[in-house]
């Protein structure tokens, strides 16, 4: 069929223009601004070159933030991906019957992150919280803790909440990939006498590698930009213990009033996202070369 290219461009142009105006241009601008220093009080921009980055390299809070973001990536991948896969395979095998379960698992994503954060902050409260009360009730009083107020536990507590919130979402993505696998492949495996365990490792997983990789990328990028739950539950505290790049970036710009320094932190986030994407693209390409 013939189309005039002009018509096609006109149809796509509004979306492209809005995207470029609100995302691409500001993105480039952030990188440029990271070479300057200025503040809301003193809006005259001074050129710093790589000055902001030199300071970042010696900033202990940035180090904590990077370590925490790393922890977020690793723990989210380790816990969310297998659990989401288990739920997807379990529910996918009898989809009709498990529609209610699917609805339930996905539902935490619909709740505003701020609401989730507020609920769990009360849950974790060291004095009156439901979690400590639950532990005492089942005879585990020794396990009660300060949770969010504990510098060693704060980040782990919030990561647990994030798993609660996002596992259902990842289940949904894997479920979509699962349904793209043709039924008759399974029928053949059943005739050959393969059990559920072998069918999963031999058929389901190899055929879903692409979807799993895409989902792993989503989890990784999501962990680099994680902000809401932390901001609500600890605001990066106590004493920067749960700080991540996004909370530190926000604090630098809008409470410390160091715009250029904040833009440099934002650029670090961007570079990390880029690195993660390139790694996953490489993996996907290797995957396709194998197939």
């Amino acid at each position: 069929m013939r189309h005039r290219p002009l018509t096609a461009w006109l149809l796509a142009l509004p979306a492209l223009a809005v995207f470029a105006f609100y995302i691409t241009w500001p993105l480039i601008h952030t990188v440029v601004l990271s070479a300057y220093s200025w503040s809301a009080l003193n809006p005259i921009r001074t050129f710093e070159g790589f000055g902001n980055y030199v300071e970042l390299a010696h900033d202990p809070v940035l180090r904590t933030a990077l370590i925490n973001n790393g922890l977020w990536i690793v723990l989210s991948l380790v816990f969310q991906l297998p659990l989401a896969m288990l739920l997807a395979v379990g529910i996918g095998s009898a989809l009709r019957r498990h529609r209610i379960l699917r609805t339930v698992y996905f539902s935490p994503l619909i709740i505003p992150a701020v609401a989730v954060g507020l609920i769990w902050t009360l849950f974790y409260d060291p004095n009156f919280g439901a979690f400590n009360a639950l532990l005492e009730a089942v005879g585990l009083k020794g396990w009660t803790a300060g949770w969010l107020g504990d510098t060693k536990l704060a980040t782990l507590c919030i990561i647990a909440v994030s798993c609660w919130r996002y596992t259902g979402f990842h289940m949904m993505i894997l479920l979509a990939g699962l349904q793209a696998i043709p039924e008759d492949i399974y029928e053949a495996a059943v005739i050959d006498g393969a059990n559920a365990w072998r069918t999963f490792w031999g058929i389901t997983l190899p055929l879903m590698k692409r979807v799993v990789l895409v989902d792993a990328l989503l989890i990784t990028v999501g962990s680099v930009k994680i902000f809401d739950l932390i901001w609500v539950m600890t605001a990066g505290g106590p004493n920067h213990a749960s700080e991540v790049l996004a909370t530190y970036m926000y604090r630098a710009a809008f409470s410390d009033d160091r715009m250029g320094y904040s833009a440099a932190i934002a650029t670090v986030m961007l570079v990390l996202t880029l690195i993660a994407t390139v790694i996953y693209l490489r993996l996907t390409r290797l995957e396709e070369a194998d197939a």
Partner: protein, 271 residues
């Protein structure tokens, strides 16, 4: 017989897990009817009476106003996202033109870009343009909503049978007409998926709302809830009531449209 036992065990485990997923929500709704003093002494207790006092306190704490602001911003953003992404998805799915691959790749980069990477320039842009609080939010929300919407709708549009389109072209229909009267009705699952995902995203968005809203009367629910919590720090019942009010509209929307979601995503996974 043995298999039935295994199936029971599996279903039991999934049901137990579902309970774990629901527990904080159930606790929230129950707690929203309880008094602050009893809630803090006995966090797992049941309400003594069905007390709506917490909801009255939440409503007086301007939760109703925040609800209205969030509704305005969400509806406007989702409508604009669909209106802008549908023609683009149609062009990428059904028309061959030079630079199409590049343009699609360009817009899909948005799936990965963190909001924080554009926060400072957009803050300055909004100040320079002097736009109102609603518009300051809607612009970036729409832009960030486009990539996923174009991706999902395009995947669905690709699968629409070509004969339908050819017949319409022979009848003399233009592309916008074909998009509106043939593609959009067929792609209802994709549109529903897009709408629910984007509505959830806009409704819940925090960093832009924290920075861009200048007047407290224009606050959306996430920031409004945070302020409300700050003012009622010890009144847990009222906080939980505010949370419950914030959750209900999207829950209803989700329960109405949820059966479309997997179908809307599946097309995307095949391509």
């Amino acid at each position: 017989m043995k298999r039935a036992a295994g199936a029971w065990l599996r279903d039991g485990l999934f049901a137990l897990l579902a309970l774990v997923f629901m527990l904080p929500l159930i606790w929230t709704v129950i707690g929203s009817f309880r008094g602050a003093s009893t809630l803090r002494v006995e966090p797992w207790g049941l309400p003594e009476t069905l007390d709506w006092g917490n909801y009255v306190a939440a409503w007086e704490g301007r939760i109703g106003l925040y609800l209205l602001n969030s509704t305005i911003v969400t509806v406007a953003s989702v409508v604009l996202i669909v209106v802008l992404s549908a023609p683009a998805a149609y062009a990428f799915a059904r028309m061959r033109f030079s630079g199409a691959g590049l343009a699609l790749g360009f817009i899909l980069t948005g799936l990965l870009i963190p909001a924080h990477a554009v926060l400072i320039p957009l803050y300055e842009l909004n100040s320079a343009l002097g736009v109102g609080d609603y518009l300051a939010l809607i612009g970036p929300y729409v832009a960030f909503g486009l990539p996923l919407s174009v991706l999902l709708m395009r995947a669905y549009f690709v699968e629409v049978p070509g004969e339908l389109m050819e017949a319409a072209i022979i009848d003399g229909a233009g592309h916008l007409r074909i998009l509106w009267s043939i593609f959009m009705p067929i792609a209802r699952p994709a549109v529903a998926t897009v709408a629910i995902f984007q509505a959830a995203w806009v409704w819940n968005e925090l960093p832009f709302a924290l920075v861009f809203i200048k007047e407290s009367a224009h606050l959306t629910l996430p920031v409004g809830l945070l302020n409300f919590q700050g003012e009622h720090i010890a009144n847990w019942g009222a906080i939980l009531a505010g949370v419950t009010i914030a959750v209900i509209p999207l829950m209803v929307l989700y329960l109405v449209f949820q059966r479309h979601i997997v179908r809307g995503l599946t097309a995307g996974a095949v391509k």
